[in-house]
């Protein structure tokens, strides 16, 4: 009896072990002979993701996972080109009236939804009407509420009219508002099947979604820019970053975003060099230390400047990001058109910092190493949200540096929702360490304009500067790139002088992709913009997927 149990257990174990997948360790690197490295159809790419998409109708989702997938299923009228200029997508061309109030889009003809219906201007109008509808819970309404009139001129011509010229207007006509009218008209969009089983017109279409596990996309053979080479795109949900990295090591996934330590250390092995390619480019976001301008200590510009001189941004980039980023000087990403490289930079200078503090009346009178004024020691709290190790480490380094110029810093981390509601909204903070994602358009009206300081608005530090207000208004009311550039350059100079935020760093995005996948061309907007053009040479194809 015992013997049979033991034997069957052994048998099962053997089955389990031998049943293991044949790991493809064939080198995918450089040993493909010339001529074999031609684009070919087939194979699949598996991307690992921490978060699961929630809703595939772009206007209803505000998480990045949803947009990553719906971006492959839907296209917009216009899109950003690799140099951040605006180029046509579903619109072949467009005219802007000389006063900047009327935009007329000329749409591509012959584009079809994946169910076969033709894409026309009616679909755009329908999308526009849906997003401004009271009943549509969309976080992206505001740009579209600026539209005075939207009309269909003929099947392939769509025109919008604005009250005032509005520079972000053109790019707002991206994929948010392109919806198949013939499938959604008269239905409640929030309850529609489209949220989880969309019909689009982009390079890929969804073929299966297993909740919490994976989304399987299949290439759209009739895609208007040509059939994508890679047949299947699989978006695999792995909530734990460490597990995801192990999956990458065993070939369970082909693509993921690396953390700084994974990029610099853990993938610095012969195995990874042979089988994977790493990419690196600035992410469209920055991390900053923001001061509550209403706080009596921080309302003094000299104090803010002193702290800026007391922090070594380069050191933060080197230690926290392992060098994978660059010090920030303003609210734009280096090497994009609104970025002004010639603003006041605060190189680390503790002497200058102490001097500025002295000028502002802060001196260490009682010899305890902390500067004081009117008997009060300079001690404040940096608040940040819990669960973000990069921010916490950044705060710790700042704490250590500021102690050297006589300022005592406490760090407090709070869960996100509580952080926003109890501290940011109520303006109950001295300084916060946070990050902003930067839109591809340069308009930052909501973050810096002095009218945007009410509860729940985004200028929560109560920054107020008449010249900035005027420039923000100017920058969004013209389509002339040179004029806009001038306005945003000046804004950055003022922000650098006034230091409402200390702009700390722009981190790099660091994706890794399996080396068998070719055709990846890194640009300022990243790598995934040309995913339909990625391919795997025939002899390197790994997955013979079943339909």
């Amino acid at each position: 009896m015992k013997r049979t149990v033991f034997l069957s257990a052994l048998f099962l174990l053997t089955l389990i072990i031998t049943g293991c997948r044949q790991r493809n360790t064939g080198t995918a690197g450089s040993d493909v002979k010339n001529g074999d490295d031609k684009p070919a159809y087939g194979d699949a790419i598996v991307e690992g993701t921490i978060g699961e998409p929630s809703n595939l109708i772009p206007m209803l989702a505000s998480d990045s996972a949803s947009h990553a997938v719906s971006g492959l299923i839907f296209n917009g009228l216009v899109k950003y080109d690799t140099d951040l200029s605006i180029t046509g997508d579903l619109a072949e061309s467009w005219d802007i009236s000389p006063d900047g109030l009327v935009i007329t889009f000329h749409l591509r003809k012959g584009v079809r939804w994946t169910d076969g219906a033709e894409f026309t201007a009616d679909d755009v109008l329908f999308g526009y009407r849906t997003i401004i509808d009271e009943k549509t819970p969309s976080a992206y309404k505001e740009d579209f509420l600026q539209v005075k009139k939207a009309e269909v001129l003929d099947r392939f011509t769509f025109r919008v009219t604005y009250d005032k010229p509005f520079a972000p207007a053109l790019t707002s006509w991206g994929s948010l508002v392109i919806l198949p009218k013939h499938l959604l008209e008269g239905k409640d969009i929030t309850k529609s099947d489209m949220t989880r089983d969309p019909i689009g017109l982009g390079p890929y279409k969804l073929s299966k979604w297993v909740s919490g596990q994976e989304l399987l996309l299949e290439s759209n053979k009739d895609y208007f820019e040509g059939r994508p080479y890679i047949d299947h795109y699989i978006y695999k949900v792995i909530p734990d970053p460490a597990t995801m990295f192990l999956e990458l090591k065993t070939g369970g996934i082909d693509m993921m975003g690396l953390t700084p330590i994974q990029y610099t250390k853990q993938t610095d092995t012969a195995f990874f060099k042979e089988n994977y390619r790493k990419y690196r480019f600035p992410a469209f976001q920055y991390t900053h230390l923001a001061f509550n301008q209403k706080h009596p200590w921080f309302s003094d510009k000299r104090v803010r400047q002193a702290i800026a001189f007391g922090i070594d941004k380069k050191e933060i980039v080197d230690v926290v990001l392992f060098g994978l980023g660059s010090p920030a000087t303003g609210p734009y990403v280096p090497n994009t058109w609104p970025y002004n490289p010639n603003v006041k930079k605060y190189e680390y200078n503790p002497e200058m910092a102490r001097q500025l503090l002295r000028d502002a009346g802060w001196q260490d009178t009682d010899g305890d190493g902390i500067v004081d004024k009117d008997g009060k020691p300079f001690q404040f709290t940096i608040l940040t949200n819990a669960g973000n190790a990069l921010r916490k480490n950044t705060a710790t380094i700042i704490q250590w540096r500021l102690e050297k110029i006589g300022i005592k810093v406490d760090i407090r981390t709070v869960e996100w929702s509580t952080f926003i509601n109890q501290f940011i909204d109520k303006k109950r903070f001295e300084a916060v360490l946070l990050g902003w994602s930067i839109g591809l358009d340069a308009d930052q009206f909501d973050i810096w304009h002095s009218t945007k300081t009410k509860e729940k608005e985004l200028n929560f530090i109560s920054f107020s500067n008449a010249e900035v207000d005027e420039l923000l208004e100017k920058g969004r009311r013209t389509f002339d790139l040179e004029k806009r550039k001038k306005a945003y350059f000046r804004i950055q100079e003022i922000l650098a002088e006034e230091v409402p935020y200390i702009f700390l760093y722009v981190p790099d995005a660091t994706p890794i992709v399996h080396a068998r996948i070719r055709g990846i061309r890194p640009t300022p907007i990243g790598i995934s913009y040309n995913l339909p053009k990625w391919y795997v040479p025939k002899i390197l194809q790994r997955h013979a997927m079943v339909p």
């Binding site: 976080a139 596990q213 792995i238 996100w416 929702s417 926003i420």
Partner: protein, 333 residues
Amino acid sequence: MLTYLAKRLLEMIPTLFGITLISFLIIHLAPGKPTDALSEMNPKMTPEARERLEKYYGLDKPVMVQYGLWLKRIVRLDFGESFSMDRRPVMQKIWDTKQPITERRLFITFMLNLMAMIIILLIAIPIGISSATHQHTLFDKITTTTVFVGFAMPSFWLALLLMLLFGVYLDWLPISGLKSMNYDVLPFWGKVIDRVRHLVLPLFVVAFGSLAADSRYMRSSMLEVIRQDYVTVARAKGLSEKAVIYRHAFRNALLPLITLIGLSVPGLIGGSVIFENIFGIAGMGQLFFNGVMARDYPLIMAILTIGAFLTLLGNLLADVGYMLADPRIRTGQ
């Protein structure tokens, strides 16, 4: 017996009502709102837009009115729609009828926990008995140390180490998920083996971490029973040690375990977040955790209500089990 059951069931109603009321109030007391995740730090979100969203979700009404509305739906067993961006009915998130049964969250968590529970009992009970009958021997010391090491070891850490060993270095077992990418094309037995291979690590990690409680309960209750007079009598009668332990002592020593099993009934549907995240298993723990983070009130309430109901049911079952197993309780009534 039947009147007793009916009485207990009736008593559950006000308790359940009280639990839901308190849960509802507490989750609304927590700072933050469901609209936060949708709108926070989004430069395109104005206060007016936020108000529209709050009205859309019915959050502008007083809490007690919201509770009333919730209660009105719940008596029809309608848990409402999730406040998250997908707006799906809560029941669909827990029990997605569009997916095969093996992909539904409740099923996944329930089956995993049930399997884990059976494995734990199968291992813990013999360990407990043996360490009781061999008290203070080397075997007792080794098993005690082992189960406590399992108890003390952080499960995420153990999981990662095992993944590294069996998944990366040895390449024997898959790392995460519950099935392979080519699962659909496998033959029947291939599917079974694929499932088993994916289950080995998760079940081992759960079982190893939970052996301590059950085996220690078993040990101490066995120790208590062994010292009873009737065991001495059985021995004096000349019964074999095997018969004394397994026929006479074991049954009585099982009583505390009934309570333990009864208490673990609600645990069957509540997955562990850390464990599910590490192994990439789409179960209830993940769903609940994400629900709490997004302040998805209907989802939180649904899971809490089901959990509360199962807790009460588990208590009831434990009591009934006691009555069946222990004549002292039955007749003492």
